[in-house]
C-alpha cells in the first residue's frame, strides 16, 4: 500500500518544532555574526560589518584562552570518564548478586541535576570546611588545606572531577551495551591459549567495543561542552578566567555583555568545531571496519 503524504504528515509536528526553534535561530545567528548588534543600546540598529566580529575574535586573547581552557577541560574529562567508565562497565557486565543495586548506583549521578551536582561538589571542595580537605588531611596526604576552587591552580581539576562524576554514567551504560555484544566463545577459545585477563581485554574486548566507546564519547563530550551549569555554579569561569570554557564565555558575551554580533560569530565557530569533533570521532569509529 502506498502512502504518499502520510509519512510527512506524521513528521510535520516534530520538524516544525526543529525548524522554528533551531534552524531559523541558527540562520539568524549566522546573520548576527556579520552584524554590529549590541543590546546595550536600545536604539541601536543592527548594521552589516562584514567579517569584523570574526577578526575581532581572533585578536581577543580571552577567546583564544577560552578555546585552550575548553580543550584542557574536554581532555581531562575524557580521560577521567574513560578510566572510570571502562572500569565500571567491566564490573557491571559481570553476573553477581546485587548487580541491579550496583546499576542503580551508576544511575544516581545521571539523575542528579548538573546544578545540584555542582553545588554538592562545590560544598565538598570548600577550603576550610569541605570534606575533601578534611579527609585528605585525616589520612595525611596534605598538610595545609588546598584552596580547590579559589586558586587557579586547582579550580580546573575540581570542575573536571565534578564533570566526570556527573557525565560518566552515560558513557558507562553505552559501553555496557557494547560489552553485551561480545560473544563469550571468543574468551573461551583464548582461555585455552592461556592469555591473561589484561591481554584478553586489550586484544579481544577493546577492539570489539570501540564503536560503542566512540559513540559514547560523542555524547559525553558534547554534553561536557554544552552543559555549562557545572562551571557556572562552581567557579563562574574563575578564578581569573582559569575555568572559562568557550561555551561559558559565549554565554557571557550574549547575556552579560549583550553583544549578539560577537556572540553570534563565536556560536558559528562553535558549530563548526562541534562538526569537526563529530567527524573526528566517527572517523575513528569507522576505522575499525576498514
Amino acid at each position: 500500500m502506498k502512502y504518499r503524504f502520510l509519512p510527512y504528515i506524521l513528521l510535520l509536528p516534530v520538524f516544525t518544532m526543529i525548524v522554528v526553534i533551531v534552524f531559523i535561530p541558527l540562520i539568524t545567528t549566522i546573520i548576527y555574526s556579520f552584524q554590529s548588534y549590541q543590546l546595550t543600546n536600545p536604539d541601536a540598529q543592527a548594521t552589516f560589518i562584514g567579517l569584523e566580529n570574526y577578526t575581532n575574535l581572533l585578536q581577543d586573547g580571552r577567546f583564544i584562552s577560552s578555546l585552550i581552557t575548553s580543550l584542557i577541560y574536554i581532555l581531562g574529562s575524557v580521560i577521567g570518564m574513560l578510566i572510570l567508565g571502562l572500569l565500571t562497565a567491566q564490573i557491571a557486565n559481570q553476573a553477581f548478586k546485587g548487580r541491579s543495586l550496583f546499576r542503580a548506583s551508576i544511575l544516581l549521578p545521571w539523575a542528579v541535576a548538573p546544578v545540584v551536582a555542582a553545588q554538592s561538589w562545590k560544598f565538598m571542595f570548600e577550603t576550610d570546611f569541605g570534606v575533601i580537605n578534611y579527609v585528605l588531611e585525616g589520612i595525611g596526604l596534605i598538610e595545609r588545606n588546598i584552596p580547590w576552587l579559589v586558586s587557579s591552580d586547582h579550580a580546573m581539576l575540581s570542575v573536571i572531577i565534578t564533570n566526570v562524576w556527573k557525565t560518566t554514567p552515560l558513557l558507562t551504560l553505552i559501553i555496557v551495551s557494547g560489552l553485551q555484544t561480545v560473544s563469550k566463545e571468543l574468551y573461551e577459545s583464548s582461555d585455552i591459549d592461556g592469555a591473561g585477563p589484561l591481554k584478553k581485554y586489550y586484544y579481544i574486548t577493546l577492539p570489539l567495543i570501540r564503536p560503542f566507546i566512540a559513540m559514547g564519547l560523542i555524547f559525553t563530550t558534547l554534553q561536557t561542552i554544552n552543559v555549562i551549569d557545572i562551571i557556572y555554579v562552581m567557579t563562574g569561569g574563575g578564578p581569573g578566567e582559569s575555568t572559562e570554557i568557550f561555551t561559558l564565555y559565549n554565554y557571557k558575551v550574549f547575556f552579560q555583555y549583550l553583544d549578539f554580533g560577537l556572540g553570534g560569530a563565536m556560536a558559528v565557530i562553535g558549530v563548526v568545531m562541534v562538526g569537526i569533533l563529530i567527524f573526528f570521532y566517527t572517523r575513528s569509529m569507522n576505522k575499525q571496519y576498514n
Binding site: 502512502y3 509519512p7 506524521l10 513528521l11 516534530v14 518544532m17 526553534i21 533551531v22 531559523i24 535561530p25 541558527l26 545567528t29 572510570l84 572500569l87 564490573i91 553476573a95 553477581f96 546499576r103 548506583s105 551508576i106 544511575l107 544516581l108 545521571w110 539523575a111 542528579v112 541535576a113 548538573p114 546544578v115 545540584v116 555542582a118 553545588q119 554538592s120 560544598f123 576550610d128 570546611f129 570534606v131 562524576w165 552515560l170 551504560l173 553505552i174 555496557v176 557494547g178 573461551e188 560503542f212 559513540m215 555524547f219 558534547l222 554544552n226 552543559v227 555549562i228 551549569d229 557556572y232 561555551t247 559565549n250 554565554y251 550574549f254 553570534g264 556560536a267 562553535g270 562541534v274
Partner: protein
Amino acid sequence: MRKKLNVWFWIGLIIIILINILPYLWTILTSLKQQNEIYNIKIFPETFFVENYVQVLFESGFLINIWNSIVVSSVTSILCIVIGVPAAYAFARLEFRMKNGLFMLVLFMTIFPGIFIISPLFSFLRDIGAIDTHFALILPYIAYFTPLVVWILTGFFRTIPSAIEEVAIMDGCSIPKLIWKIVLPLSVPGIITVGIITFTLSWNEFLFALIFTSSDNAKTVPVAISQFQGVHSLNWGQMTAAAVIATIPIVLISVFLQKYIISGLTSGAIKE
C-alpha cells in the same frame, strides 16, 4: 563456565559504589545538620535538624519553583510523546523519500548545543511576549527533547512484530487509528521510558531556564538552586536541603525504574 570473581573485583565494586553515592549521601547528611556542625565538619549530625527543610519549603519561595518545574516538565514530556510517537512510527514502519537523511537529522538534533541558537531564540520569545512564562521553556524543551523521543521509540517500534498491523491495515484500519489502538498499547514500556527521560531532562535543564525566566513566574528548580546563596547568604544547610528536595523524586524514579532508563539511554545501543 562461570569465572570466579576475585577480591579485586569486590574492591573495585565497592570503590565505584562509593564514588557514585558518597557525594549525594554527604549532601543529605549536610541538609540535616545545624550550622555549627557543618562548619566543624561533624560527619553525622547529633540530631536530625529538620529546620533546614522547614525553612526551604515554607519560608523561601522554593515551593513555587518546584511547582514551575512540575508544570514545565509534565507538559513537556506529554507533548514530546504526542509529537514523537507519530514521527517514530513513520520512521519505523513507513517507506518514504529522504527517510535516512531526516533520521540522521533527528539524531543530530539530540546533541546540538543549545547555546549556539540561544540569542535569536531569546529575541523570538521576547517578541512573542513569552519570556518569563512556562511556555518559554516548554517550547524549546519540546524541540530539543522530541528528537530523543523519536530516536528511542523508533528503535522500540522496530522490535514490535508488525504482523498485527498488516492485518489491521488489510481490514481497512487507518494509520492514526492503528497507532492509537494497536501500536500504543504494545509500546507502554517504551512510552514509560521516554516519559521518564524527558521528564528528568526537563526537570534538570538549566541554560534555557536561566535565560528565559527572570522571576518566580516561571523560574524552575535548577535556576533557584543556582541562585540560592545570593538570597540566603551562604547557608549550606538550607542549600543542601533544597538540593535534596529537588532531586529526591528524580533519584527515586530512576533507581526504581532503572531498567526503563537503561534501555532508553542505550536503545539500539547506538544512541545516546
